[in-house]
């Protein structure tokens, strides 16, 4: 088996009394697409900064490409591409210039950078915006430029912190497509997200994190298999009647989850459960049968919704 490119053991980060990352363990194999899924404040970004060799850990062990970031920050960072949660492109520079100056940070020759910059702008679908001001780009374009910038050094590992947060659905799909291509080319991707669909689309394997701890680990399909049923029936009785209806639904499905606005019935066969409910004489205002998702996994593991 190839050596992991990232190894974290009991990785911990504290800010004063607050523990942002609470002793987590994980490994990432070369070429793997690895995700950290969790709500805001779960410690994902902090973990990413430690893996990005810019944030010093409080305790535990961390190795990136076999090197300790405490001793080899710049060396490790020479092999990483980083797409931060908040865009930090230089707004005083034009689109292409952002790539040119960034390439220099890695000590690359200007001719190499110029060549790569043009190819990356093509890849990021920004070839017609090379001279544009960064400020004039849309949110999706800025993200794509940030990804292009992160690829200027041909990184071994690409770190993406909430890559599609704040983007409209179309921009997200363009971005996913680009990331998927990178994955196909064998780039190791490490990404954080609180979107379950993103995690399902992009991650070979992921860890579910909450309050700085890892709750579960596996492929999206395996996690769903382990922590949820095949289907989910969502029924709504109106917000004031949900709790009352839930009492009567006891025994239906494998498990019930009562949310303020709806009741989730976990079952291998959602339609059959809906029939049982109508036989009981209950009439939901709306009903919906869908496949289980990572959202359900998260709900099961933490009792809370991912996006609150």
């Amino acid at each position: 088996m190839p050596q992991p490119v990232i190894t974290a053991r009991n990785l911990t980060k504290k800010y004063g009394d607050f523990t942002a990352v609470d002793g987590i363990d994980f490994e990432v194999a070369p070429g793997e697409s690895f995700g950290l899924l969790g709500p805001n404040g779960a410690g994902k970004s902090t973990t990413m900064r430690m893996v990005g060799a810019v944030s010093t850990r409080t305790a535990g062990d961390l190795e990136i490409l076999g090197l300790d970031p405490n001793d080899h920050g710049p060396d490790i960072r020479s092999q990483l591409g980083v797409v931060p949660q908040q865009d930090n492109l230089d707004q005083e520079l034009r689109v292409r210039d952002n790539l040119l100056v960034y390439g220099r940070y890695f000590g690359l020759p200007r001719s190499v950078i110029a060549e790569r910059a043009d190819a990356l702008l093509e890849f990021a679908q920004l070839a017609d915006r090379t001279k544009a001001k960064v400020d004039d780009l849309s949110g999706g374009m800025k993200r794509r430029l940030t990804i292009a910038r992160a690829l200027i050094n041909e990184p071994r590992i690409l770190l993406l912190d909430e890559p599609t947060t704040g983007l409209d659905p179309q921009a997200r799909h363009i971005l996913w497509d680009r990331l998927f291509r990178l994955k196909e080319q064998g780039t190791t991707l490490v990404l954080t997200t609180h979107y379950m669909d993103e995690a399902e689309q992009l991650c070979d394997r992921l860890v579910v994190v909450d309050k700085g701890r890892i709750m579960a680990e596996g492929s999206p399909a395996a996690l769903i298999r382990e922590y949820s049923s095949r289907e989910v029936l969502e029924v709504r009785f109106g917000s004031d009647k949900n709790a009352e209806a839930a009492e009567k639904l006891k025994g239906i499905g494998e498990r019930l989850e009562v949310l303020p606005d709806r009741i989730l019935v976990y079952s291998a066969n959602g339609e059959a459960e809906l029939e049982r409910i109508t036989h009981l004489g209950l009439e939901p205002i709306t009903s919906l049968v869908r496949r289980s998702s990572l959202e359900d996994v998260f709900l099961r593991l933490t009792g809370r919704s991912l996006i609150e």
């Binding site: 900064r49 931060p84 230089d90 940070y105």
Partner: protein
């Protein structure tokens, strides 16, 4: 969870590749940042040049020709223009460095957090600071060299060592800039600190550092402002160099030592603040 591969050796291939790729940025990272800052000047090059040429002309004309006519006897044996010119050079340097070390630092941490972007590459916090100061030093030297040229045209430089006043003025600017950046790099929220800095720092320095009249003209209790003012030390040094103002050698050495020390401490503190702030 997968198990740890205990056979791993520290000299694995990808680690060696990382160490090789990290070598150039470790050595030259500061210069890469300077290159970036110079490239970013394209956006405001016109303003910078206009400022560098326009300001000396306006000031020298107003003070050297206008105000000088009220002081026909000159100051300390030289014309008023000769007296005031080194002070204007040092003040011009201060203006450039004060600008470059105030908003751009807040900007880089907060409004357009490019420092975090730089630090995500192999560049360290200390290198960001070094690179910024390389750029600031270049800008300052160019500005005061133009100033010096205009002053020479006005005939206010009589000593053959006059051109050394460029270095004196630049050192003044850099010492003040480093002191300012050591403060601005700690600012988390903009609550008008920059305006305060201008009002209670830069402006009083400009007025009370023996710029327009000898420090001895001030009431004795105000004179210590001059002694702690880097602008006073830089201006006096400039006067020694441009027209050979007489003062004890130990005092000249003190001017140099004061500016160098202030710069060194300011730079050290700024690098420290950057490093800490980027490591969050």
């Amino acid at each position: 969870m997968t198990t740890t591969d205990t056979s791993r050796t520290p000299d694995r291939e990808d680690a060696r590749r990382a160490l090789a790729a990290g070598a150039a940025p470790r050595r030259f990272g500061s210069w890469y940042i300077a290159e970036h800052r110079i490239r970013a000047m394209k956006g405001y090059a016109g303003d910078a040049i206009f400022q560098s040429v326009g300001n000396p002309l306006i000031y020298l004309f107003a003070l050297g020709v206008g105000l000088a006519s009220l002081v026909p006897q000159g100051v300390g044996g030289v014309s008023y223009l000769q007296f005031v010119a080194p002070a204007l050079m040092a003040s011009a340097a201060m203006t450039v460095t004060a600008n470059e070390t105030s908003y751009p630092i807040l900007l880089g941490f907060k409004w357009n957090p490019i420092f975090f972007g730089m630090n995500a590459s192999p560049i360290t916090g200390a290198q960001i600071v070094n690179g910024m100061f390389i750029h600031i030093a270049l800008r300052t030297v160019v500005t005061v060299a133009i100033y010096c040229g205009v002053i020479a045209l006005f005939g206010a430089i009589t000593s053959p060592l006059g051109w050394l006043a460029i270095l004196a003025a630049a050192a003044t600017g850099l010492a003040i800039g480093a002191a300012i950046s050591s403060y601005t790099s700690t600012i988390q929220e903009d609550r008008g600190q920059m305006a305060m800095l201008q009002r209670f720092g830069i402006t009083p320095l400009f007025l009370f550092s023996g710029t327009f009249f000898p420090l001895e003209q001030l009431p004795p209790f105000l004179q210590p402002i001059g002694w702690i003012s880097p602008l006073w030390h830089g201006t006096e040094l400039g006067r020694v160099l441009t027209y050979g103002m007489e003062e004890p050698a130990w005092l000249t050495a003190t001017h140099v030592g004061y500016l160098v020390t202030l710069f060194a401490i300011g730079l050290w503190a700024t690098r420290r603040h950057f490093t800490r702030r980027l490591d969050k």
